[in-house]
Symmetry: C2
Subunit: 722 residues, 2 copies
């Protein structure tokens, strides 16, 4: 690696007569910087004079470097900067390192102890930096280092004065980083841990011995180099180790239950555990983001409260990825035996997608207390007396992608009185990126809790439709596996009724039963394949009633009747003849009979800016410059760039011609198709994610000629390093 040099740069290091400052000065001097070695001289308390600075200057000169000594107090920082200008005509780097200590317990601290520390650390850094600032602005270059301390970041006994000054410097750097940005002035903070009593008590003796300034100097030198682009960073370093610190904020909480409620000391107390819950805490980059974040959260609170006013709601989040989809698909009987199922089982399949019934899970909200709360007085519901009676799902807008996060609102739309049982009609609204993507409805039967004089029906309820009397138009049979329930439960419903023989027996079953939603998943797959072109996004809605349990190993028979764009269906168990799912239907956008696969997915939408755009722009530039190199790779490569598991942009790298453009290949077919998330691709290009690892972890999906893809590596990587 080439040496990082400072030739032509002028650096001021305050407090450079010894310790850290001396190490900084020597290192910069050895790398070509002209150094102003500032030191007041004298002992640690800042009193007296000596020739420490002279000795450092001599040492730099002895090694062929250039340096001058400066004896000014940082409180007159402008004089130190003047030394740089007078001797070298410029100033590029300012390392605010000078400091003293006046440790006292706060009780014993005098105003002088306080004032002196603030003056040297805070005012001193202000004075030097202020004097240098105009030079930095004019030359559009500057590197400033503030020196903080873990005593400031964490507090430390006997250092109230020092910790205030030291964290003050971080606040100072925060603003200077902003104001310096457009002038290429980078202002960063070093938190060096030096040998001290505190560290001596804790560190093993050999580490304490090794705590040398020379181990921190390279960090500060790097942060002072022209190649260093960060600003406003806090870097902790000692003993050849370094880490970065920054602030994170909790997600926080409204301090009241409804927007119209008052905020009181008591409502604050009530919500406090959410205020200080640091799970999910996030770093924000700048002050404006704090306000934007707050507006978002308050608007969410308002919106949710409006919905809560209609029906008390339960909000939850649901995350899924391609592995979840595959596991689910196996759980509902998708099999590699059917080539048409592979698109639900193989995350790199070019048409990989979720089964539509998967998204029912996002609306399940088993942890919601709403059903229990919805019971009329004297009636109760808990997990020992409830049954999943009916299920509905409807897709709204774009069909969800193969990974993502949902926010789900669940509420009880109505409670029905069915005589012996009560029925809670539970609605869920499933949102992705604030867009409603699906609605679900569950009918939860609460056994033995009817008879409270409630309504028998509800206008909010989506009803089943009985199967026609005629013979079915199509029938599909499939045997479930003995381990079907053991497998399906890994998709989230761990109710022991589906795995524990004892619980099954207590509940009156000969052995653990299959989940109703698993049977429904089988039948929905059958219908989708027979009449829906096997295309999940063709499904508009689905409704079913669970009538009887299925035992794993039994054979499901799905009977279908075509009626316009609706397919009515019911499911029987072949071995018993029992109907297990009744009155069910799927509404399709289009009927595609005979299970013929539908046309290729719609061309990828275009337009929105992605992080990887810059990468392809660079590749285009490279290819335009080196057409012959590109042709030597050859092949037509299609990149599908995804967000939330959905392709949001495509790029064609036609290296035969060669030409690079947005969109799918204009003629012919890609030799190799790569599907990869926007962020993942950027990580691959920057070298932080190896393409092999990305591929083996399913983040980079390659269809077609895999070997050809390997040749692309150098092309992909080189521009990213620019």
């Amino acid at each position: 690696m080439d040496q990082l040099r400072f030739d032509g740069r002028v650096a001021v290091v305050t407090g450079a007569g010894g310790g850290l400052g001396k190490a900084y000065a020597l290192l910069l001097g050895s790398r070509g910087a002209k150094v102003v070695v500032n030191d007041l001289g004298g002992a640690r308390d800042g009193v007296g004079k000596s020739n420490f600075a002279d000795a450092v200057v001599q040492e730099i000169k002895d090694k062929g470097g250039v340096a001058v000594a400066d004896y000014n107090n940082v409180i007159e920082g402008e004089k130190i900067i003047k030394t740089a200008i007078d001797n070298f005509g410029r100033i590029d780097i300012l390392i605010n390192n000078a400091g003293i200590l006046r440790d006292k317990s706060f009780t014993k601290m005098s105003d002088q102890d306080w004032d002196l520390i603030q003056a040297v650390h805070l005012k001193g850094a202000y004075k030097t930096t202020h004097a240098a600032w105009e030079y930095f602005r004019k030359q559009k270059f500057g590197r400033v280092i503030m020196t903080s301390s873990n005593a400031g970041l964490f507090g430390n006994f006997g250092q109230a004065n020092y910790s205030a000054a030291k964290l003050g410097l971080v606040g100072f750097a925060n603003t200077l980083a902003l104001e310096g940005a457009k002038y290429n002035i980078k202002v960063n903070t070093i938190v060096p841990t030096a040998a001290s009593r505190l560290t001596e008590d804790i560190l093993p003796p050999d580490m304490f011995e090794a705590m040398k300034p020379e181990l921190i100097a390279p960090v500060v030198a790097y942060m002072s180099h022209e190649s260093f682009q960060e600003s406003g960073a806090i870097i902790d370093s000692t003993l050849g180790y370094a880490s970065k610190a920054h602030l994170v904020r909790s997600q926080g909480t409204p301090l009241k239950n409804k927007p119209s409620d008052p905020v009181t000391i008591e409502s604050v107390q009530e919500n406090w555990s959410k205020v200080v819950d640091m799970k999910g805490a996030e770093h924000l980059d700048k002050i404006a983001d704090v306000t934007i974040d707050l507006v978002q959260k308050l608007q969410d609170f308002e919106e949710r409260s409006k919905l809560d006013a209609e029906n008390e709601s339960y909000w939850s989040t649901y995350n899924y990825d391609s592995k979840d989809l595959t596991l689910y698909a196996l759980g509902v009987g998708a099999s590699v035996v059917n080539p048409s199922d592979l698109k639900f089982l193989y995350e790199s399949h070019e048409s990989f997608s979720a089964l539509p019934t998967y998204f029912i899970l996002a609306g399940m909200c088993m942890e919601s207390p709403l059903v229990a709360k919805s019971m009329p007085p004297g009636k109760h519901a808990d997990f020992t007396n409830i049954l999943h009676g009916e299920q509905f799902i409807e897709f709204v807008g774009d069909f969800p992608g193969t990974e993502g996060e949902f926010t789900t609102r669940t509420y009880v739309a109505d409670v029905l009185d069915k005589g012996s049982s009560a029925v809670s009609v539970v609605n869920s609204e499933i949102y992705q990126n604030k867009q409603l993507v699906a609605r679900t409805q569950q009918h939860i039967f609460v056994l033995g809790q009817g008879g409270f004089g409630g309504p028998r029906n509800s206008k909010h309820s989506v009803d089943v439709q009985p199967a026609p009397k005629r013979a079915p138009d199509a029938v599909v049979e499939q045997q479930t596996a003995e381990d079907q329930a053991a497998l399906y439960r890994l998709s989230g419903d761990l109710n022991p009724l589906h795995i524990d023989p004892n619980v099954a027996t207590v509940s009156g079953h000969p052995r653990p039963i299959l989940h109703g939603l698993a049977s429904l998943g089988f039948s929905a797959r059958h219908v989708l394949s027979k009449y829906g072109g096997n295309e999940s996004s063709n499904v508009k809605s689905l409704k079913a009633r669970f009538v009887k349990p299925v035992l794993p190993g039994q054979t499901l028979v799905t009977e279908m009747w075509l009626d316009g764009k609706r397919v009515n269906f019911q499911t029987k168990v072949k071995e018993t003849g029992n109907i297990v799912i009744a009155g069910a239907y799927i509404d399709f956008k289009n009927i595609v009979s005979g299970g013929a696969p539908s046309a290729a997915a719609a061309p990828a939408p275009s337009g929105s800016a992605l992080k990887s755009d810059a990468l392809f722009a660079k590749i285009k530039e490279e290819v335009d410059k080196n057409k012959e190199m590109a042709k030597s790779v050859g092949g037509v490569f299609l990149y599908n760039i995804t967000e939330n598991g959905k392709t949001v942009k495509s790029w064609t790298l036609d290296l035969k011609t060669p030409v690079i453009y947005e969109g799918t290949p204009k003629s012919g077919k890609a030799d190799t198709t790569m599907t990869v998330g926007d962020n993942d691709l950027v990580e691959i290009a920057s070298g932080t994610l190896s393409p092999q690892v990305a591929y083996l972890k399913g983040k980079l999906k390659i269809a077609g000629n895999i070997m050809l893809a390997q040749k692309l590596g150098p092309l992909l990587k080189s521009p990213a390093k620019i």
Copy 2:
């Protein structure tokens, strides 16, 4: 909820003539505090005098409160505290709120702009707090609020002076929180966002209008209350919303490759992306923790480097939980059809455990570049020319629990020359909590890369043992499922060879093949069940060679030969007669023939202190007080408390007698056994995790009489609320 009162407390609020300070004063006054309303008077720039403070005092008095006005400048803070003492004889609460602004771009900032802001904000807070401190200490009570700003936390244009002072106050509070701890002095920081130009630009008009001090006052009042126990917290609040901020530190990195390497500017640059990688950043509570953390990391670096010096190593972490174990068990053919398999499939089974072969996965490290690097000059390995040839695993110490994290060291022990192919002998050492728990060894065949004149054998290699010539002592047959590979790959090896028909064809297979480790998992299960008592922890080691591929759907025949405590085995495909796994063996601690289940697990170890200990102590106390209530529940409950998925302590709640004690039931059997993590149980008891949710998510496992467990709820919850 009872009102939080301040009767008998004396509060000083600086800058209380208007805005936030006024709101604080009025609220505290209305809740019984005697308030010193400090205000210099005058306009925002602090010049001039007026009777703002008088008006606030009057307003407090009008509402029946007690207050006095104070006109001192905070720079003479001792006079303000004197006003409290002179009028009310004490001081309990100090809210440092006074402040002014001198916004200027840094270029235009004058020394006066800097000094005035530091004086009022920082020195002022120092002066008042210092004057009050002795009173707080003597009375062993004090509540101090510092007022910071997002301008300090994030920086803000034109506020270099203000951001320095405002973050300085946080540093000041950090140390005061420590020094005040043993005197019940709590020092916290409020970050109020007031209506300002900045917020006006970003906020919707109605929110800007609503930005009232009265919405922040309850937060500050709560933080001033005697019930408030936090100290050193940064609380951001506005508009009836509040969040907490704190610092987190990146995991950081050594700035060199080996401990003996020098730290250079270049080595810093090389490692920088790891320094600033904030994934996995953590909050540390106190300064000493920073050092402890560093010592740990440096020691790890030293230890790893020593190992690296022997063999270049690759370090990785591996996390698993009960769902991973169950998914794996299904992937290697465990089935509910065999009751003895249920312990591998059902996370609430009383003997739930991992299959021993599961832990081979922790040593796989597919992302490691070591094999590629191990190739001699002119030879190469990538994922297109490597084959998993042999596998070994050996357990050391305690058998791993049902969830946890491993740290794995992987290195190439030797590279063998087998003529046409090279073989990398890859060792892994698998650690949990710094203890070595398992070693694995893979023989990776690198096709076509032999013939480099290397050794044919290695003393580091664990060799297979050919099967005896005699007929096997036992044979177990099991058919794999057509979807076996599709399922097994969800345990992590997503190589498309096992799912993609095109890739399989290119590789010369009629269709995707089963993973060698899946076949091995089947056979190891067969051997474990036949000769190992079906007890995973009975396995000492296992070795196997993969000879030929298996197609999903084929039937595996495991042939076994007993030889002391070793069981030799090989695996054939029934349909073809091919041997697919050869020279394999398992060494057991004890041979348990005939698949008889082993005795119950050893009694839980005891001794180590757990968080839930206090809970059981309270339950014991409650039960001792209310023996009749306890008897009314009845039943004997066994709690197995786990850490990392292993039972580390048991408690018996014998409510028949009633008596509570540590350990398993002294006589008879528990009616209900609950298995739950130490942290989860504490969360359940504190009410932050509902037992139903814990149960449905598999965090609380209940065996035996589930209904009885429901009765326990009140008993479990009440003491935790004390």
